[in-house]
Symmetry: C2
Subunit: 429 residues, 2 copies
């Protein structure tokens, strides 16, 4: 049992120093707090988790390649040696932007001079409760571990049953959504199957494993150039992934998924990567928070919103994509605004390109007018991801693990661990 002590605590800003509260330790919030290191302000970062998560590699945790700690940096470790940066592990349950006050899940209140909302996004099941209940996903460490356990259990169940239909159902994996997360996970799962299953599940010489990638649009990786989408689809199919375009999911339960055209797929695994929505904590919150071109929340003073939760417009007049680079750039921009005062220039998103990996030695990328595929794309992907991984030790470990895996074709982390529940559960999808 957690023992929260219901003693209201209040930030007590030192005389003359502003107090800044940043809500969320994702890409935007962490960059903002780090950029305020040494500033003339007391900064408190609040998150319900005690770590920053490098979400682009979550699918590698789910596919048994990386350990959780290799993509998770403890916030307090990041804040070492920065006396003006503090951390508080709590969930924000109330936001009063006019009263400049946040309420935490232990009923204590935080008063601030400046607030930065960087609460990110949650899975979007578009109101389909069946799908929400049945979906596995890749949004946080808990769900990635749940997915890893679930997939490993499917192989064990398939190995121990003599019912051919049940075995086929256990060995059919549906991935919904062919954006980067869906494509990368489907590719990684196909590699896991190819590298591990023939040697370690001699019982499974019957029906083949099926990995089905369902996409509502007319191509995989819809935000990439058409040429790259075509390459990625070909690479997935070469690896045995069945790609079905213009396909929507109507409902799902423990034994199958029903598509919009009535087709039934017998499966006990549906991984949902088909959409996210803003995790908006405002009292009247729905959708992304409206902000101006300096990330100031409309109608209040001293409040910013950045990243997935903010509806900042890019130079093209469309909302910025819900990706880590705009969130990180916004975090640094807002930190500068807080320290130096409002700048005359509005924020301008610098798109450094996008990358997605399909498997070992195969990835696609686009940087400005250039595109990469195949081995070159994979090397670029590897270098970029290593560079952005927080913390030198993680980078070294992940590099070593990748080198090992490259040589030995192994997936080392295939163990089912169930932590005893402790404290509050992960939020429901």
């Amino acid at each position: 049992m957690t023992q929260l002590d219901h003693v209201p605590t209040t930030t007590t800003p030192r005389r003359g120093r502003r107090s800044v509260v940043v809500v969320g330790a994702g890409f935007g919030g962490l960059q903002c707090a780090k950029a305020l290191r040494g500033a003339d302000a007391d900064v408190l970062l609040v998150d319900e988790r005690d770590y920053h998560l490098f979400t682009p590699l979550l699918y590698q945790v789910a596919s048994c390649l990386l350990n959780p700690s290799e993509i998770a940096a403890p916030v307090r470790k990041v804040f070492r040696g920065a006396p003006n940066l503090r951390f508080r592990q709590a969930r924000v349950v109330g936001v009063d932007l006019h009263g400049k006050r946040l309420t935490l899940d232990d009923s204590s209140e935080l008063h601030y001079d400046v607030c930065v909302l960087a609460t990110g996004s949650v899975n979007n099941y578009f109101g389909n409760a069946d799908v929400a209940r049945q979906a596995l996903n890749l949004k946080d460490l808990g769900s990635a571990l749940k997915l890893r356990n679930h997939v490993l259990e499917r192989f064990e169940h398939a190995a121990s049953t003599t019912d051919a239909a049940a075995r086929a159902r256990h060995l059919t994996f549906c991935v919904v959504g062919a954006g980067p997360t869906g494509v990368e996970y489907a590719g990684a799962l196909a590699e896991f199957v190819r590298l591990v299953v023939p040697d370690e599940y001699p019982e499974l010489d019957g029906p083949p494993v099926r990995i089905i990638l369902l996409e509502g649009g007319d191509r995989v990786l819809p935000t990439f150039k058409r040429r790259l989408s075509a390459y990625a689809q070909r690479q997935l199919e070469l690896r045995g992934v069945e790609v079905r375009l213009r396909t929507l999911v109507d409902s799902a339960d423990e034994v199958g998924v029903v598509l919009h055209d009535g087709t039934e797929l017998a499966t006990s695994t549906m991984v949902w990567t088909a959409g996210v929505r803003a995790a908006n904590l405002l009292p009247d919150g729905a959708g992304r928070i409206t902000v101006d071109d300096h990330f100031r929340i409309t109608g209040v003073e001293g409040a910013y919103a950045i990243g997935d939760v903010a509806a900042a417009l890019g130079a093209d007049g469309n909302p910025l994509p819900m990706l880590s680079p705009p969130a990180m750039q916004a975090g640094r921009f807002v930190a500068r605004e807080i320290v130096e005062g409002p700048s005359s220039r509005p924020f301008r998103y610098r798109d450094k390109g996008t990358l997605a990996t399909i498997g070992r030695t195969s990835a696609v990328g686009q940087v400005g007018p250039f595109t990469f595929t195949g081995f070159l794309g994979w090397v670029v992907w590897l270098v970029v991801h290593l560079y952005y991984l927080i913390g030198f030790e993680n980078r070294l470990q992940v590099l070593m693990r990748w080198a090992w895996y490259y040589v030995h074709l192994d997936r080392p982390v295939r163990i089912v661990i169930r932590a005893h529940p402790a404290g509050p559960a992960e939020p429901a999808p």
Copy 2:
């Protein structure tokens, strides 16, 4: 939801080949199965977990130094390339030694010619339900992760409360039992506190952290030589651990532990390492299973019991210690008996010595007439543990992590992860 298909499956031994079922993938069971590689028998290893756990390093997972997969080897990976070794992830719920039949948790039955029970041990709370409910422990990966989460949460709660008594309670850690596990965990926790807390919890400049090691006997490490016990106690005390000997726990709840002499310790953490008992699955099972000096279960044919669950007697007439070395030696002995038939010589336990580490550069060890302490002891400890870690990759990773930690004084894995529950929970203590 797990989807167990209730189709009874039966082992179908090939004509002329014996079927051997080994229950338990701990030290004894895994060694026995590995030693049967290539033998003229179909071997099935059954365990409810899909990995072999290197339990001597569990306290390093709990104290944020190692990742779970670094001390857990997937059984199917260990069995690669051995066509006569199979694995089944299941819990054995019924044992019929006379009918040569095991019942699994999915109601299917396994028939065998030879059975080896290697089910190990579980925590022993000596019938104290209060203590059992409140105790954290170091018996499996789930409980080690729960302990890690719990301790990290204590520091977060202490950092966010302004109630001095609550803060002191959060920062008081009781470890019950000063055998190797209790001593090693108390030492590792003291190092964690020293290396991480001052730099990362600037809020906690108030009451100090207390680590209290409670032992019922008159010295720590009671199975070691008196000189080593004294050294270990001195080293623990130098690191700030309060050692209380001749002290028994009467009861425990969420806010404290009551000792037998009436003393109350205000704490929300009680780690129980004070005893284990045999995990005896036999219908009339209580305590360790009686076996002869060839590990044959008394009164039946074709059934062996090894390791913690077996009451084999050593050369001195006492039951063998509940440690990994006798279990591993017994596993290999029984495999040889199965392959070659009963040998004329009974089993003879070769005690290669015992080691326990108190912290960085400090350990105690005894090998025959020799004893080691300090840095030399620590190096011996390190080499021995690396040597026995299953799987070369794990060894390399752990070595690298230790080297890193030795240089950087860090505890890298301090993140709280709660996996969404999937499938059946861990067994209750």
